[in-house]
């Protein structure tokens, strides 16, 4: 008994000391890590938290010119949603969602096609993969300027097609120009994300299907598509978030003329050009809410799991 107690006493303290020491070190490490992260968190609070909250607070105040801003509650929001400015606001909501829908459908279709080609083994595949990415590597503003020149009435597009369309001078040609430029720019991005998804599909699955007599289309529909779905949905989600805040292309190609004023252009116009930070703050908060709700609905409806799909390479994507 005494021996055992002695034994256990001899054992237990030793173990517990070790555990204590280990956990103590862990605790210490954790706290040390915490303090290491503190500066980053402070910086983020200052550069992200402060502007967001400042805009939110500012959106509750009026935009008087000669006097100090007054507290007006939600007036700026009402004005955008159903007041004097509602026409402008809902117009640009329509424009923004139109661009998002059209460009995402086109880019997904083209991006998927590009990814399928890039996933095949053939000579020059590395070169192709590099070349395809070039548009994505060009800064959007630079791409917009290039397309502005191309869509000039005496630019290369009219010269090549022999047409005399004034691309940025009326509604539908302007929208077409923006959609074309955006698709050119962003399809490679979708292609890249999908390619990553395609590469983790084991070759055996395809071989097995082939042996079972599945045709190329069947294999695509029944094997490739379901297996690449998580990566595909994440790519679309990213594009959705991006497309809903489209700014550079219409700003440079049309300055928002010809019914191409997206929400972001409207926000910049109200805040910087008309110097109405209160109304502009309300607009940017509304834009944020719209994007948030849209992205949330997308995630809930289609069960995207952005984090897992990225880390687990797609396996965890299906709910």
């Amino acid at each position: 008994m005494s021996v055992r107690t002695g034994d256990s006493r001899a054992l237990v303290p030793r173990a517990s000391t070790r555990r204590e020491r280990a956990s103590g070190r862990k605790d210490h490490d954790g706290r040390f890590a915490f303090w290491l992260v503190v500066p980053a968190i402070l910086v983020l609070t200052v550069v992200i938290g402060y502007p967001v909250i400042a805009a939110l607070v500012r959106s509750l105040f009026s935009d008087s010119i000669a006097s100090a801003p007054r507290f007006v509650g939600l007036d700026n929001y009402f004005s955008a949603l159903w007041g004097v400015n509602s026409g402008k606001f809902w117009d640009s909501v329509g424009v923004t969602y139109f661009f998002a829908a059209v460009t995402i459908v086109l880019e997904t279709a083209i991006g998927l096609g590009m990814a399928l080609v890039m996933n095949q083994a053939f000579r020059g595949r590395g070169l192709l993969r590099g070349v395809v990415l070039v548009p994505w590597a060009v800064p959007t503003a630079v791409a917009a300027v290039l397309w502005k020149w191309s869509f000039d009435p005496v630019g290369i597009i009219n010269a090549l097609t022999g047409s005399h369309v004034v691309w940025t001078g009326s509604d539908w040609p302007s929208k077409a120009a923006i959609v074309i430029a955006d698709t050119w720019k962003t399809s490679p991005f979708i292609a890249l994300l999908i390619l990553a998804g395609l590469q983790i599909i084991p070759g055996e699955v395809h071989e097995a299907a082939k042996i079972d007599g599945a045709g190329a289309f069947q294999r695509f529909r029944l094997i490739t598509l379901p297996l690449v779905r998580p990566a595909l949905l994440v790519a679309i989600l990213f594009r959705l978030l991006d497309a809903l805040r489209m700014y550079d292309l219409p700003a440079i190609l049309t300055h928002g003329a010809n019914d191409t004023t997206t929400l972001s252009i409207l926000v910049v116009q109200a805040t910087l050009s008309e110097l109405k930070p209160g109304f502009g703050g309300a607009l940017s908060t509304l834009t944020f809410l719209l994007i948030f709700v849209t992205a949330y609905a997308f995630v809930r409806l289609l069960g995207v799991n952005a984090v897992e799909a990225q880390i687990g390479g797609g396996r965890g994507g299906n709910r």
């Binding site: 303090w35 010119i65 000669a66 009435p153 940025t168 001078g169 110097l275």
Partner: protein
């Protein structure tokens, strides 16, 4: 434990120090002074390259009140953003600002500009229209520095006598058609330039956008309709090519200088490019006043006023500097070296200067009748409303009547947002 606290303390101290520095940056110009001392002068991109030379002159005369040149973007919108950011932060980084004439009212209404002495910067020698642009509620908030108004460039080899009326302009267009070129181009893209061109057509026809004090909307008139109708007709007949709906200053100037358009409405600066070697119209063009419904039309007034920031530390020096920039010796540099139009009346007839810039007498005639764009602290909202509605009418999306009615409603909303 204590060591950790010390470390924490040091961290906090560092953060606090950083925060103090940030605050210090934010309120650097908080206390304003009327004294003298070094100042800064911020202007749009100096395309002439001659500004440093002019400023060196001042610095030689005032070694203890040196001016530092800050060159901003070439785009007026970006320049305005830089100024507004600085003024909203009350930092006083820019003591003297290069203000486009249409910003003066807005900046003054916000209390961002120091009122200036009219006797010093708005005397009888200065073009009255330029003085008017710098005046807000009876006080001057800027020293007119350079001025601008559009001229009609015409092909003297094709049109012996420039048109003075819209009817003459339209009949001259047959010549352009025979030579397979565009007849008339200006700035008709949806941006500030469209406001300028629309204002020219509408004021030439006797209309206006706002009452002179900017408090009432006056655009819903037969005269304004007639002015807008003229532009719409020119587009409908193809005398203004549809491509002009995308033209800003440079595109329209290119069309003329490359010989693809017979008439061009643009600022005086095109004169230099059109006379340069390599221009398709070198020696084959002339300048005249813009045509109007029955005789020469009314040009919109552009130009630059030099404003003194209300947050400047050395306001006395800043005020002396803007007055010096308006003095004859500085203005001579402006005309001769920078090739810009002076605000001093007498320099338009100076033989030495007219030899270098033959368009000066014509420009003076245009400037004597030129009308500033609407003067209101809500200028940008007003201009956006004009651009949007005029553009829709030029495209043929809405009738002239509907466009004017909608414009009146939009302007009312724009100016009531005080």
């Amino acid at each position: 434990m204590r060591r950790r606290l010390t470390r924490l303390g040091m961290g906090l101290a560092a953060v606090a120090a950083a925060a103090t520095t940030l605050t210090a940056c934010g309120t650097g110009g908080g206390t304003t002074g009327n004294g003298t001392g070094p100042i800064t002068f911020a202007s749009g991109k100096d395309l002439t390259g001659a500004m440093p030379q002019l400023l060196a002159e001042w610095n030689k005369l005032h070694p203890d009140q040196k001016v530092t040149f800050i060159e901003l973007s070439a785009s007026p919108d970006d320049q305005r953003n830089s100024f507004v950011q600085d003024l909203q932060a009350r930092s006083g980084k820019y003591d003297v600002m290069w203000d486009d004439v249409v910003w003066t009212s807005e900046f003054a209404a916000h209390g961002w500009l120091e009122p200036l002495d009219k006797a010093q910067v708005g005397g009888p020698g200065v073009l009255p229209a330029a003085v008017d642009t710098a005046t807000y509620q009876g006080k001057m908030y800027g020293a007119p520095f350079m001025t601008n108004s559009a001229l009609l460039y015409y092909r003297s080899d094709l049109v012996p006598k420039p048109p003075t009326t819209w009817a003459e302009l339209q009949s001259d267009c047959a010549i352009a058609k025979a030579h397979d070129m565009a007849c008339y181009v200006g700035q008709f893209a949806q941006y500030e330039g469209l406001t300028v061109n629309a204002a020219e057509a509408i004021t030439s026809a006797g209309g206006s956008f706002l009452s002179p004090d900017g408090s009432k909307v006056t655009v819903d008139s037969p005269q304004a309709r007639a002015g807008l109708q003229h532009l719409v007709d020119m587009f409908r007949s193809g005398n203004i090519p549809a491509a002009a709906l995308t033209y800003q200053e440079q595109e329209s100037a290119n069309a003329f200088v490359s010989g693809k358009a017979m008439f061009l409405a643009n600022w005086p600066y095109v004169y230099t490019a059109a006379s340069a070697a390599g221009s398709a119209v070198q020696g084959k063009f002339g300048v005249a006043q813009l045509p109007g419904p029955s005789g020469p039309g009314v040009a919109s007034l552009g130009g630059i006023d030099l404003g003194v920031s209300a947050f400047s530390q050395h306001k006395q020096t800043a005020k002396d500097f803007v007055a010096w920039m308006q003095s004859e010796s500085s203005q001579r540099v402006l005309v001769k070296v920078m090739n810009q139009a002076s605000v001093l009346t007498k320099l338009y007839t100076d033989p030495d200067l007219t030899k270098a810039s033959p368009y000066l007498p014509t420009l003076q005639k245009a400037e004597l009748t030129a009308v500033p764009r609407p003067k209101t602290p809500n200028y940008n909202a007003v201009s956006l409303a004009i651009q949007k509605n005029v553009y829709a009418a030029l495209q043929g999306k809405v009738s002239v009547d509907a466009a004017v009615k909608q414009l009146a409603a939009d302007l009312q909303q724009a100016i009531s947002a005080a």
